[in-house]
Assembly symmetry: D2
Homo-oligomer: 365 residues x 4
């Protein structure tokens, strides 16, 4: 319990998995009180106040809306839905029901990212000129990597774009501002995949042999590059790919402003690199700032900087903000409006890749 | 619960703190069932099987021995005791009582460190020629940092040497082998400190002013450098310091062997740098290997590499091994013998700094 | 004299500068035999075999063509001309006259770049999927930086694009192959500049005050971002900017292929980072290869790797190739055809920024 | 000619090599007017004002003293002599003859090193607490690397210690101050080497096979580690080795002071890393400062930072200072007194490795 005292204390009530076996194991492993195997049962339960929607993307809308209709708060994984239209329905429902709604753009919670946000807002880098952001992985390169829902357009909506690129999009919105228009190149590099008894291991490793010989068409993008213009005049370069050998899970950005620059990579998750023209001449250079006690959330985590941060730690920040929001004492890190706006941008990226034209981002509402 | 199914499931029974207020808060915050404020009560309780000794160093021996005499398993923080003599008593008791005994040299659990160990054992770097290891911090540089038990010889035994240097010593024993002799320079750089209403913040920052004007002599080392010879002929360069500006919490080593080299720094905790003469000529270079699913403990943590690792994650590895040991299915990461041998080396370092002569490490038994 | 014995020995005959004073100083400082102050005199001289055209861009064509018409070999700075049309005239002349013609894309000579080329050609990274390349500087950010020819469209043709972006374009052609089409965002961020007694110092520092108050419109781009498709199917992300604080002179690329990746930055000019799926599982990672004796040109430079490389060293490689070409024993690093093709791409980038549409690269001939 | 106008213009008069063939090639390759093959002829010549002594170490004394007796200025390679006694004779002669005397500790000329010196002198890091310095190479690890003068005690005096370690010692003297005492571990790791038709390539690679079977004992150290105390109370950790795989030619230091820290490695020769407690809280971190126009010697080299620096560039700084000294307008980078004091420290290191006791550095005079 890093954040003490919490504004609300989460209780693990019910876990849901369509496989009873997995549901029961989940209950035991993570300490839930009960399990179900139909999400429709879960969203109605009296002992549930908050539903954490961690399903494949195609179910986000139905589960979230059902939960909200039952008066539950909802935390939904990203991307918020298969497309902006669905996301808008979810947002509308959330607004109507006045429940707390959060979307899992957890990288906004990274201390170094929050520090970047603060430095920008305080004017440390002046006006933003460029933003380059990327989220690169390499697990899908082998054509032997079998079909799974993340590679299936019906289940996922898009590929690298929604799954990881939307994190980069969300951070750019968070740090730089709203997008004006985008133009993209999108490619499906491995066009069909085995339907498979093969089980996928980490990093794109595949065990066993593909004995079935059956193949399914991959509908989603493996790699997307796009240019963006922001409303305030900045320009953006984005790249999301599951085909970048050596990049295991790298979310990175470089933001150049009129007075300084900020560089971040999740490969060094607790560091922010900052170049400031406020430094004395001859003493200017990128400074590597290690997140520690005096940085965002630092008191909760680290008596000393350079003590590391794991995925669970990051999640605990997100959950702490969620508890604050439910208690009426704060805001979630990213809400359904953020989720919806990211989907508007994703939809525009997909359209521009098809039409080969600049596509303006819908203003939403 | 990263490691599933665990060989034993820890239950948080009783927490102890000399302050009732802190004890109660601890119980609530971390979810213990009960609290006490005298450790003598804790070590006797029937609902306690394992005692985690996280007191200041001077209490390690008494608490651990009392716990073992009551048949409890013991996990004791490092350094194991104030000196090797005390540590030997603890080890003797542990052997006599046949309980599980562990010492908190948790850096042995780091996936990159375990991978280094494996590479060395498999001969990837040949015979070790040199080992440089350091543990550097900077929190104690300000003379305003007030006295606390870590700066008090009676409570801590030594300063940077035992507190952090012993981690570097332990890793050198783990990776390279036993020490033959050492020669050290040891300095107390700030010779007295305020006894203080001041409260210490992270990174050596101090809030408020020192109004009392009272000072106490600092008895422990702030910075220790030493040379070592290993039994197998390797040479070592060590440095432990709380006075290294910019190094917040850096445990690092470089090991050069006859066939390759290994470089590690906790500043990039999930990376191991490996130079191999086995690589083709012209293609040799330090390779940065990111810990992922196929590396030690990786399956428990990461679907993808580069997902970070926090202090709590590291602890969970240590505890998993401890549960295995208690269940008779494995070994602790480091036991009281490791704790004792590290103390023998620390004692020799202190002696050699005093006498300015090489001091052979006692063979122990 | 790194390359011994050279195929031809350059003799410094005549230096030309429109200012007699500078011409004379140049002669003395660099050891030329004579000086002139009209380039028309230089290109005719009998004691000149090779003309090095280091003028502002708008003169490249006239000087080069005149030199070639007098039978001289020509080494011309990049970009080859103000636009592709001019460049084509130069190339046509060169072909007609059968002289040696070289353009100053000297980064092709970097040992690490040549090594990258070799690794790609030998199949080490498989098929190229993505290429990101950038050339970033920060000297022009201050609005006090006065007008100079590099900021003047008539004299320079374009701004960051031709001056530095064309290096990135040339390396992408060298390493990945021909471009198919581009789409760009181009911006002039400081729209007018002082005409000025101010003298510009390094890194965008300006001494003195702008007393004149006169301003001139800046016609060229300060920052250009563009997407590219390559003929072989790869996609590219490019950025050229003089407005990237902290990037003093950074030419960098990342190339991701189906079997591995290559990463280079001029910030570590003598290193190439290489990720290979040919490495054993669990031992894969980016390897930092230090250019040394067994790498391209290494024997000429380094008894040991990690001995540094300066701009003059790089130039000596380029000149050595030029001497070889003149002696009929080799090829220049980049010739007028390379210069012309880079101009075709630059022209397409400019057009696409204007029309906001994808522009196909002319095939040239 | 980077430095213009030079205070004196060097003329390449006579080159000397014991092999006439090499002498003639050297003359042609480097543009000398004449050559000789006995150094005794060279030191007497009227057309020689300055003798550059680049022989194996055992000849430094005789050549230098003969040159000085003939009134020549002398630039002598490092280490200055086989031992401090010889070095003292050279220094005495230099003082008597009032010639300019320089020793090739050229790393003092590195812009980043000079900047470090300036920052320390201006108090930016406060009092120095620790200095760690190392010079590591890996060319000698293979037992097939044949005997050469650098491995022969009679010709070289010492091994890694004098050849490369003395650079680290010299920089520590330059940056931190005089040494008080040292204690060392020294090892000859490959105890005999082939006398050989084998020719040594870069990086310890050897071509051909050792057919002779003849072996010679290696008398010099391959790796030396030592502790030092400085006169002003700082402590030092040093390492010089030719057995550090992956370190091709790495001279590095870390200096920790009471107010900040400086980190340098020749692997990034034009960068200095600086941590300053003068930076605002929360914004402290190691800053990577790129050497550019406003840094030491920068105006001579770089219109823009990050343009690289080669060995020849570094040499040109050293020679510029030498020309200034000869012209009475400046001082050499390091003189025979520096050379002598480094030898005193080397001798103490050797003695302490033998006696296993701390050895005080002779005060010299």
């Amino acid at each position: 319990m890093y954040f003490w005292k919490p504004s609300a204390m989460p209780v693990l009530s019910v876990i849901c998995d369509s496989s009873e076996d997995r549901a029961r194991t989940g209950r035991d492993r993570y300490g839930y009180k009960d399990y179900v195997f139909d999400w429709k049962d879960l969203v109605k339960r009296d002992d549930v106040d908050l539903v954490d929607v961690g399903t494949p993307n195609f179910l986000h809308k139905d589960v979230s809306i059902a939960a909200m209709r039952n008066g539950k708060h909802v935390y939904c994984e990203k991307p918020l839905a298969l497309n902006a239209k669905e996301a808008k329905e979810m947002l509308d429902e959330a607004r109507k029901r006045r429940v707390v709604h959060a979307v899992g753009y957890n990288n906004r919670c990274l201390p170094a990212v929050v520090m970047a946000k603060n430095l920008i807002e305080e004017g440390h880098i002046g006006e933003v000129i460029n933003c380059r952001a990327e989220y690169l992985q390499d697990w899908a390169i082998s054509p032997l990597v079998p079909m799974e829902w993340r590679l299936d357009k019906k289940a996922a909506g898009s590929g690298a774009l929604g799954d990881i690129g939307s994190h980069a999009i969300d951070l750019a919105r968070f740090l730089v501002g709203e997008f004006e228009e985008v133009l993209a190149v999108s490619r499906t590099l491995v066009k069909e995949r085995p339907i498979s008894e093969l089980s996928m291991l980490g990093g794109g490793k595949v065990s066993g042999k593909d004995v079935s010989g059956r193949r399914e068409k991959v509908g989603v993008d493996d790699s997307v590059e796009f240019l963006a213009r922001f409303e305030d005049g900045a320009a953006g370069l984005f790249h999301a790919s599951r085909f970048s050998h050596g990049r295991k899970n790298t979310l990175a950005f470089e933001i150049y402003g009129s007075k300084g620059s900020l560089v971040f990579s999740s490969e060094s998750m607790c560091e922010l690199r900052f170049y400031s023209t406020g430094d004395a001449e001859g003493l200017q250079g990128f400074k590597t700032i290690k997140m520690g006690r005096q940085h965002p959330y630092g008191e909760a985590f680290w008596p000393l900087a350079d003590s590391g941060m794991g995925y669970a730690d990051l999640k605990s920040i997100e959950i702490s903000a969620l508890m604050d929001a439910i208690s009426g004492k704060g805001k979630v890190s990213a809400d359904f409006e953020d989720g919806y706006r990211a989907m508007l941008i994703c939809d525009a990226v997909i359209e521009s890749a098809d039409t080969k034209e600049w596509v303006a981002i819908q203003k939403g509402d």
